[in-house]
Each structure stands twice: as C-alpha cells, then as structure tokens.
Symmetry: C2
Subunit: 294 residues, 2 copies
C-alpha cells in the first residue's frame, strides 16, 4: 500500500499502479474510518484492478459554526483498516496541498441542494462538489463508491457527474448499521451514553415508516408527522428536518396526496441533533410497491 | 478526419485515435473558424499525437439579449479548414446532446470574472467554465489551446484548471490580426464597411499605449484616458470598457501610481461596440520593462 501525502507522490503512485487501462475504484472519505467505509473499500477492491482511498477533512464543506476543528481523526487506525481492505493507494493530503492559495473556483449543483442538508448547511454541497471534482481529476477513477447514509451527497455527485460529463461510474452502497440499527458515522463517537441509546429512534422510525406507508390513504404529511412523533419520544432529540422527497431529484412531492398514487422512488430523510452532535439517516421507498403485499 | 455529432461517436473515435498514452491537443471553438482558430489547430497538430477540435455555440455563455441566434455558422467551411490543419477528430454536438435535460451544475470562477467582460456580460464566464469542464471531461486532452484575444477567458480557464486540478496544460496563443491590426473574430463579419474601417482604432490604441507607457510618470488612469480619446475619434465607437489590470489575476492596480513602479504583467483590455457588434481586444505589458529602453 502506497501512502501519498502530496499530489506529486500520488501521480507517481498512480503511474506505477494504475497505468495501461487498469480500472481504478476510488473511495473519498474524511477519515476516522468505520465499517461503513470498510464496506466501500472492499467493494472498490473487489470490482477494480486498483483500489484507492482518500482521507481529507475538507474545510470547504464545513460551515463557520460547524465541527471542523473537532472532527475526529486517527490516521494510524485508518491506514490499518485500509491495508486490511486491500487498498493499493492512499491519498492523505494537507489542506495546504489541496488549497494552495485561496481557491476561486466552485462547482455548484442547484435544486438537488435546495432542501435537507443543503438547507440546513448552506454552502456545504458547494464544498463537496468542489473537492470531489478535484479528487476525481487527481485520481481519475473508473468508479467511485459512496455510502447511501449520505443520500443527498450521492444525488449531488450523480447530478454533477451527469451534467459535467465526468467519465466515472458512481456506485451507491448500502448504509452499514450497528446491531440496534444506528447508521454508522464518524460522528457517533461524540454521543454520550444517553444520547447513544436515544439515537436508535432514527432507524426505528425509518423501519416503522415502511409499515405506516402501507396504511390506506397515507400521505407525505401524515407519514412525516408519525416519524416526528416517534423521534420526539426521545426527550433529548432536537429535530433538524424530517423530509419526504422524490429521489434522486430531491424535489417536493404533493404533501396531501396519497403516497400510493405517486409513481417513483421517494426518500424519507432525517437530521436530528443530540446535544451538539447532528445525526442523519434515510431510507428509500419505491411507491409503486406500496400495498403491493411485498 | 472523424466527424462526431454524438458523445457516443466521440468516445469511439477517441478510443480509436487517442489510445495508448498518446497526447491529445484540443481546440474548443464556437465555429465560424478564421485564421486565429487555424493557428491554434496547427499548433495543436504540431505539438500532439492527436489533434481535436470542438465546434459548439454554447447557449449557456450568451446573455438573454446577446447574439446567440444570429451567431454566424458555416459547418462546411469549418470542416474544410479543420481538414486542412490536419485535425483528427471534430466534435460537433447539438445543444440537446450537450444539455439533455436542464443542467443544474455550474463551474464558477470568482474574482477573475469580476471585471471586464465578466462585469459587462453577467453569467458569461459561468457558461464558459461549465462548457469547458464538460469538453475537458469528454475529450480528456493533454493540452488545450486558447487565443489571447479572449485574455479574460484564458485567465478564467487557467484559474479553473489550477483550482480543480485538471491534468491539462493550457497553452496561450497569440492573437492573429488583419493586415491593418484588427484582431480576428467571428463577429467581424457583422461590421458594416464604415464600422470596419473605424474598428482599426482598437489595435491602434493598444500599439500607441506601448509608447504612452514609456512617458515619465504615466499612470493607469492617464493611460486609459489616452486610449479612450483615441477610440472616441471613431465617431461610431461606443466604449463598453477600457481597463488596465494585473494579469492574469485581473485585479485592480493603483490608478494614480506610476506604472513604472508596478512590478508585474498588466493587461490593457478594450470592449467597444459598433452598432450592435461588440469587439474586444487587449495587449499585455511587462511593467518591469517600462523605461528599460527595449
């Protein structure tokens, strides 16, 4: 496994490992790897000649009041996990290496970023689009792997890749969960024991929603109310948003129409704070299957 | 020469011509080729294994009141010129091929676009950055060739390539001129005989500026006044802007300081309308050479 800290080192490592039309599978991360990341790395390893990982806590995607400074880091452990997953090349740049001088160029995706985390975290997805464009240009992957826990991020990257004709396949990967259902996240380490036990209500609500959806006449607005009530039973939970939107467009659907009459994929997406820790989770539903007696 | 009208055709043509680590020189244009474009194509031909040309009148870079609909086109002549210059691959997509569905992603370069044509044509450079990103992803050139008549476009593309880590060398190419000095432009065909003869004042002013710069104590503001007066002697000329800025940053320089005390490259840039036809021209100066008795 070659660990590269500069763009120069990365280019020479890729020249060595990824030449001659070999396929390259790429997993961009902010580090502090967990089993969710490991599942992406194993998939990248399995489906490509070369597997590459980047670890970069990107300042551009953090708001001024967000957790950039305290974002958890553990390079040694990350490299051990990467090696175990069979990664060939790790790119671990400094902020100075990625942004020498003030960056003036932004890659901005409209509409898909209007709601959910795009509304709660203004500028966040501009930072994501910009850094992912940079990493795509630096690594030139054939395929890039993203976890569906960040479903809006996946929608934004897919739209960007489509609109700008990046010659890269975006691979959606399923959210990995703790045994009780909590979606894995590097931010879970922030949770106190009490918050950790209450946080299970997010995934519970998503599972219950699957059943609520089957009730005759259920609407988007009715479903969101049920989800919100279920989460509010955790007394420390502060709901940032509960949204039901078309996926991957992330456009509004008729709040009062029967969901069974909507034809397409919808996402039920949650962002909930426990203390200063903000958790997100989501689940996709095929509305054509509602009442289909799966 | 392979002429491709779809992305699919382009991919198969590039697969055929540009495989195995061959270098590809790319000239993106809006067609209606003139000797300026031909000089770029010959350079791309000379310096690379494969030479590619794109012809696409990009709606995204035209304002709502601009000349998109009447922009001149002559595909047959363009293809003859391309063949003569030894082009291997021509990409001639439709608007539908380049923008299927509403594009939601924009590549935006700040600051470098604040002045000159960026100020006169709001949104223009967002359209340029976006379409050039798309073409770069589709053609994957080693080098891309741009004429310095569009000096701000060159500055914007260079900044974008730097900020987003495109692995592409941007080659600045000198402006090609008519015998009397008028910079070649596809838009010159719009000019009436009278406007055409008055239009020579743009390049004249840029040449005179070289002498005026040598006068002791000459300032940016003094130089611009001289240039404006010279152009105004053409009674049909309507000045859009005359600017003297640091290049390629396109940042302001002290208007009242002696230019000989400024250390760096400056651009003297003009945009002038004759009737409904807007012409641009510019010249770079090394201020360190002022008074150096070249």
């Amino acid at each position: 496994m070659i660990v590269c800290r500069t763009i120069q080192e990365l280019k020479s490592a890729l020249g060595e490992r990824a030449s001659d039309g070999k396929s390259l599978g790429f997993v961009p991360t902010m580090g502090y790897l967990h089993e969710g990341h490991a599942s992406l790395l194993r998939k990248a390893r399995e489906e490509n000649d070369v597997a590459a990982l980047s670890i970069f806590v990107n300042p551009l995607q953090f708001g001024p009041k967000e957790d950039l400074d305290r974002y958890p880091r553990d390079e040694e452990r990350d490299l051990a996990i990467a090696a175990e997953c069979g990664v060939d090349v790790v790119f671990l740049p400094t902020v100075q290496e990625m942004y020498p001088g003030r960056p003036l160029t932004k890659v901005i995706v409209d509409e898909v970023t209007d709601r959910m985390c795009g509304a709660s975290r203004p500028g966040h997805f501009d930072g994501v689009g910009t850094v992912v464009s940079k990493l795509f240009h630096l690594l030139k992957p054939s395929r890039a792997y993203f976890g569906m826990k960040d479903a809006q991020q996946v929608a934004v990257i897919e739209q960007m890749v489509h609109d700008l004709n990046f010659d890269i396949e975006i691979v959606r990967c399923e959210t990995v969960r703790e045994p009780d259902g909590l979606a894995l996240s590097s931010r879970n380490v922030y949770l106190s024991a009490e918050h950790r036990s209450q946080a299970v209500r997010l995934s519970q609500a998503l599972n219950l929603a699957k059943e609520w959806l089957e009730e005759p006449g259920m609407t988007a607005s009715g479903l969101k109310q049920r989800v919100e009530s279920h989460i509010r039973e955790a007394d420390q939970a502060i709901i940032d948003y509960v949204e039901l939107l078309a996926y991957p467009e992330l456009s509004l659907i008729d709040e009062e129409a029967r969901l069974s009459s909507y034809n397409g994929t919808v996402i039920l997406a949650l962002a909930v704070k426990f203390g200063t820790t903000r958790l997100i989770d989501n689940r996709l539903f095929e509305t054509s299957k509602i009442g289909g007696g799966e």
